[in-house]
Subunit: 322 residues, 2 copies
Amino acid sequence: MLSYVLHEIGGQILPEQREIPQVSQDGALVKVAYAALNHRDCWIQKGQYAGLKFPIVLGSDLSGWLGDEEVLVNPGYYWGTDETVQSSQFQILGLPQDGALSEYVVVPKSQVHTLPSHLSLQQAAALPLAGLTAYRALVQRGGTRSGEKVLITGIGGGVALFAFQFALALGCQVVVSSSSQEKRQKALDMGASYAYDYTNDQWTKELMKDLGGVDVIIDGAGGESFSQLIKIAKPAGRIVIYGGTQGEIQKMSPQQIFWKQLSVLGSTMGSEQDFEQMLAFVEKHKIVPVIDSVYPISEVNTAMDRMRESKQFGKLILRIEQ
Amino acid sequence: MLSYVLHEIGGQILPEQREIPQVSQDGALVKVAYAALNHRDCWIQKGQYAGLKFPIVLGSDLSGWLGDEEVLVNPGYYWGTDETVQSSQFQILGLPQDGALSEYVVVPKSQVHTLPSHLSLQQAAALPLAGLTAYRALVQRGGTRSGEKVLITGIGGGVALFAFQFALALGCQVVVSSSSQEKRQKALDMGASYAYDYTNDQWTKELMKDLGGVDVIIDGAGGESFSQLIKIAKPAGRIVIYGGTQGEIQKMSPQQIFWKQLSVLGSTMGSEQDFEQMLAFVEKHKIVPVIDSVYPISEVNTAMDRMRESKQFGKLILRIEQ
């Protein structure tokens, strides 16, 4: 089979002929139809991820066939029995275990799920990692309810877009932020009430005028601007952190946090229960993942460039050549 | 009646003869036996509090008599119906309404509660504001359970000490931090497993060696050292912020927050339900407030000096002369 392999930090992802892997008793051999990229793949390539090993087949997201059945795979392995946090055995498909950028992949049987019935294989490949992360952040950790006002920062990435779609489906008023006029317009077209340019230093004042604050914020940035999120959170507000692309959080006011009874909640990936609930939610609300573009697997390095530069609006999909 | 009145920012608290206030239909005239000080009183005196007005009779904590009955008063007024956060009408006894440093005080009838049966009037005066704040922070917001490891930072203040006593009563392993050797020793004598000097830059390493991290942290400081609390929190840990004496929080790692699924939770005061549950908890576990010292009300300015310098270990009580 053809696998696409990263051999070193900073290296290109290169095709390589490999043996189809052996399947143990509780494993399943999935023939991959589509894979999708995540920022995680870029961080591993840059060497900015714990537990690096080489060579590695990247890729946490895939759809494909188990025998005749169309399936997708929960990329979070060995979460454990505690719903509040993953166990120390927790792993994500695509490091340390070889991932989706391959004709075949072996995964534990329990990680394999049937596709939501309204999705194609191409659409379904976009869902697993980002959909799971967004669902846990918004619903399980954020406790978001119908009628609440929700801000999704940095719209365009996979998690942000799923959180956006899920919040709309929940019946929330949803607003977004982005530095890109194009991405703001796309979000407005999809149902955002307002879209703010966070490079404009008046944006939080505008939001306060428009909405009087927000109940829930889903943030993957952190950094210096995080302190502004504390200010625009309404009393009893929840700010869920699923990423930290802008680095350490600075100048955060404890007074605002305690007086408004705010909750700043970390969230990453999700449990098996979260994954099943996410699939049921996607099925119920007929949510279709936003796809930025589809590349043949042979152009994986071009797709990685686009991801690294955060140019995408939606998921980057790779078609595995059969 | 004799009231002790603050007339201006930075002023002394001065005795003054006043009329006993009129009681409306839903009010209760309580004859004050003991009052207790809180940092809030110092901040108001320094002018560092919202909604200042003068002259004002300070004091949020009191015990006394309603007719023949021994009572104490819930100092949090008009919380409202939402358990998650106080309403915009919320007030604390002692600003804007005249407070406890007086022979008599009129309060809404619904704020008056019977003393826990094992407490004297002197002990009960120590309980309301700090006990309520500690209970909500530890139990309602922190969700602290028996067997968990709990760190109380800055042991010595009223809220920290109640949180400490409540956590021990819950069946937690409790550790504390303080820059004062004397306060650390007192906490060890009261049942702390370990007491750390946070001015020693190895203290978090020591804690990790001793405990492997903590499940719950109750913090009233914030500031630069808050980022260390994120590091010593165990997976699924909760850090409850009830104060911010050290100012803005800096250098907080979003990666640690999301990967460990941490919750940073603001908490202030508590609802009527919290107050009732706190009284029942204190009664059940026969908790006796720690009293630092008892002054006659005529020495209120000396007591305020001690509070401002954070020299106390436990509550500062004022005996109202009858």
